[in-house]
């Protein structure tokens, strides 16, 4: 199959859906790759770099759309591109199926197949193709960088000869993929980072990234976010009120606010009100990652940067991934490549569109002349395992009690063993003659030493241990040597055989042990 990637037509879009690296992997699956000329230039991949890995470069978009069996691109296709789409062609791209109902129907009429990247189900198996996450990660990082660009102070606190600089305080609202990336970036720049999310169970992740979780004074059984596909559910009015009060309280302290709250298929919730913006210090920066869906702050203007009357900068860009085109193209192209790997199970360059597969079914919105959106709920439900009930922590006194108990049983066992062993020895001593008891004491002591010594042997040396014990158990040779000189021919014969066999054992055992031990080497 021919996989083609056109140049993105959307204004200001720098990304590309296929990189030379991903093309190499696609070719391993048995596909041919073609790109439109200049498709990768904006993300730093020249036509030459594509040609070097055997990708065909075509002059026009029309030619590409005509020959390719699969079109991989980034942005929702525009009307021109929809015209070029033809029967039996597979289009892999972001598609926003809710907003672009018409385009979906057009594609269905033409008999093309459309796979929408944002519809990839959020289950663990599909993480490698989840472009929303990989792009959100970049957006979160870039949001902090953009904020820093407009923020007139350091992130990190410093004490210099020229005076003391307080660290910047950053608040990240919404601890999804973008939020966590923003937290990580802000903390590594040295800012004091706070984070909020309506799902209190993410507080652990937030803290692991180095931020403080902002808890509300509110008591309600929260719905587990994992039941709603990893997104936060709509919250209750009481909860919203508590949240508003908390934000009003902390707004004057914050230097940078990054909002990332989105609810699927709805307008973005308003979280940062005009009052809060007014309460902020001049020079503060707000980055609204939800600008495309109306913004978490009502003052946000989509795709623009504005400065309010009190000197607060509000950034409403929606093209953060595109601003880091080389990075985002690499990740997006890898997502596409993983998707195509699943679509080409036999690795023979033939696409097999298996509508039984949860991931493929979920992402496919047009197939076999019908619109297949919305998909049925996936067969595999949970994306995160339910938190396990924690084992009850033992109190100090309970711990001490178990320890004393263990100590007592141990003592009891030892005493019992000693008593039994001792009395058996005594009994033996009563009947056995002194000459026997002498040897017996040696025997018991040796066993005791053996037990003490062998427990210390490293597990990795158990085979050498067996070989060496084997060699020394040939000490039986002494018995044969003592007797070989005394008596009949038969005795000499048996003794000779015994000496011979133990000889094999002694030499063989020690030599093989030495050989083995010499092999053990440190790195």
């Amino acid at each position: 199959m021919k996989i083609g990637t056109p140049k993105e037509l959307f204004d200001g879009e720098n990304r590309v859906a296929m990189t030379p690296a991903s093309a190499v992997e696609l070719q391993k699956l048995g596909h041919e790759c073609i790109v439109e000329t200049q498709a990768g230039v904006a993300s730093g991949f020249s036509d030459k770099s594509y040609k070097e890995v055997g990708v065909e470069v075509v002059k026009t978009a029309a030619a590409l759309w005509k020959t390719a069996d699969v079109i991989a691109k980034v942005r929702v296709p525009n009307d021109d591109e929809m015209k070029r789409l033809h029967a039996d062609q597979t289009l892999i791209s972001f598609f926003s199926p809710v907003a672009d109902d018409d385009k979906m129907k057009t594609a269905a009429q033409k008999g093309a197949t459309v796979v929408a990247m944002e519809m990839i189900p959020r289950i663990s198996r599909a993480q490698k193709m989840d472009a929303l996450s990989s792009m959100a990660n970049i957006a979160g990082y870039r949001a902090v960088i953009e904020a820093g660009n407009h923020f007139p102070r350091f992130f990190t606190g410093q004490i210099t000869a020229a005076g003391k600089v307080p660290p910047a305080k950053v608040l990240v609202i919404g601890a999804g993929v973008a939020g966590l990336a923003a937290i990580g970036t802000a903390t590594s720049l040295g800012a004091i980072t706070y984070a909020f999310d309506v799902r209190p169970e993410v507080s652990e992740q937030v803290e692991s990234m180095g931020a403080q979780f902002v808890f509300l004074d509110f008591d309600e059984d929260q719905k587990d976010g994992s039941e709603t596909g990893g997104y936060a559910p709509v919250s209750s009015p009481e909860f919203a009120a508590a949240q508003l009060a908390k934000f009003c309280e902390i707004a004057p302290d914050m230097d940078i606010v990054i909002t990332t709250a989105l609810i699927p298929n709805r307008a973005a919730p308003e979280l940062w009100t005009e009052d809060m913006v007014k309460a902020m210090k001049p020079g503060s920066v707000i980055v609204d990652l939800a600008a495309e869906k109306g913004g978490n702050c009502k003052l946000t203007v989509m795709d623009e940067k504005i400065v309010t009357n009190n000197g607060v900068t509000i950034i409403g860009y929606t093209d953060f991934p595109s601003r880091m085109a080389a990075q985002s193209s690499t990740l997006y192209a890898t997502n596409i490549r993983h998707l195509l790997t699943d679509l080409t199970p036999a690795k023979d360059g033939v696409i097999s569109h298996n509508m039984e597969d949860d991931v493929i079914r979920g992402a496919t919105i047009v197939h076999a002349k019908t619109v297949t959106f919305p998909p049925p709920p996936p067969k595999v439900q949970a994306i995160a395992a339910k938190p396990k009930v924690k084992a009850v922590e033992l109190t100090a006194s309970q711990k001490r009690a178990t320890e004393t108990l263990a100590f007592k049983t141990q003592t009891k066992n030892q005493i019992t063993l000693l008593a039994v062993g001792g009395s058996i020895l005594l009994l033996a001593g009563l009947v056995a003659p002194a000459s026997f008891m002498q040897h017996f004491i040696v025997f018991v002591l040796s066993i005791f030493i053996g037990f003490q010594v062998i427990w210390g042997v490293a597990h990795s040396l158990h085979t050498p241990l067996m070989a060496v014990t084997n060699a020394i158990s040939s000490i039986i040779i002494l018995g044969a040597l003592v007797q070989i000189g005394s008596g009949s021919f038969f005795v000499i014969l048996l003794a000779s055989l015994a000496v011979f066999m133990t000889g094999i054992n002694i030499f063989g055992g020690f030599l093989v042990t030495r050989r083995m031990l010499a092999m053990f080497q440190k790195s």
Binding site: I454, S460, T463, L465, I472, I475, I476, G485
Partner: protein, 478 residues
Amino acid sequence: MDGLTTAAYVVAAILFILSLGGLSGQESAKRAVWYGISGMALAIAATLIGPGSGYWVLSLLLLTGGGAIGYQLATKVQMTQMPELVAAMHSLVGLAAIFVGFIAHFEMYRVAALIAENADMSELGTFAILIAKKTTVELNILRIELFLGIFIGAITFTGSIIAYGKLSGKVNSAAQKLPGGHFLNIGAAVVSVITLVWYFNTGGFAPLFFMTLAALFIGYHLIMGIGGADMPVVVSMLNSYSGWAAAAIGFSLGNDLMIVVGALVGSSGAILSYIMCKAMNRSFVSVILGGFGGPQGEQMAVEGEQIAIDADGVATALEEADSVIIIPGYGMAVAQAQQNVAELTRRLRAKGKVVRFAIHPVAGRLPGHMNVLLAEAKVPYDIVMEMDEINEDFPTTDVAIIIGSNDIVNPAAQDDPNSPIAGMPVLECWKAKQVFVSKRGQGTGYSGIENPLFFKENTRMFYGDAKISLDALLNKIA
């Protein structure tokens, strides 16, 4: 001279103890083996110049002859064949114990005859003189000691030969029993007890001979009934027996050094057996009596499917991984794949990835078998970890590769209380982000239990002979 010999024995005994104690670390072990060698040399030399020995030219010749064969064996043996070699050597110790026991019996008989004739006893050897001085009670004890020495020696002899056959593939490694099962063993044991009483009362050769036959049968039949994967326990048990046999013979000859060494070896083997049994969460008796105690109830059904992957996929995942844990098992030894594993390790380490090995105590057919194989392939020992050292690191590991092991990575041991291996400590490899299983086909392991690991979402099956699969993989990883 008598005093000198005893002194030499004391030194030799200390050297042997140091030799075993030195095995606590890889570096000290290299010195420890020399302690053992000097101890043995000292013991033999002291005995040769000591009282009572004769024909010492003959003895030395025989010793050198045996030594030459031993040298050949030790230098030629493949590390994968170590279990066979160890088992074969145990059989020699067992046979030597039988012979020495018989000799002692003949001497005792001869001395008794001489005493009866009131003949001149100045021509007798040391051992004979020793016997001649013994009282009736002491003679009776001597009979029991002899009897025990031969009994244990005989079991060790046939048991080790069967173990050798099973390990080298000359005997079918599945558990087999003659019709009658354990009743035959019990019967043979009863015969042994009867002959003991008989021998105790008469001191004749016949009871000793019948007992030897019965013990030989017990050794044969007991080990025949134990399957391949339980061999670590069997081999260490036989190791222990060879020690006890030496100790028993030491008692009868009144030789303290033999008693000391026998007790050391005996307890060493016993501890090894205990460790192996513990690692399988089974009692020693249940292993020796053979077979798994069937499932205690309905086992959990395994859901999902086994998803195959090819060398390309594994190579890509390894390129992306930062930390890798390899879990080798008996399959690696069978396929002789340790060199390829080592090469893979070297290449991955050269790329700056953290590669480690996780060794389950019962992996392979001999305690510590995997460690020796990896050491032979020049894998540095400080990246080869024991189960307890590494089990907690799996959640932070990118890729776990399982090569030819099955039951030791079976999650059913933890998840399914009805599984026959429930409670057995296992390597928790499924907690790694990705698991690759190199395996010949879809069959179950030794225990015949389905392994839910193969059906997990993050597991991919890399089918094929381990060596060939790894060859293919090495071609993809520069």
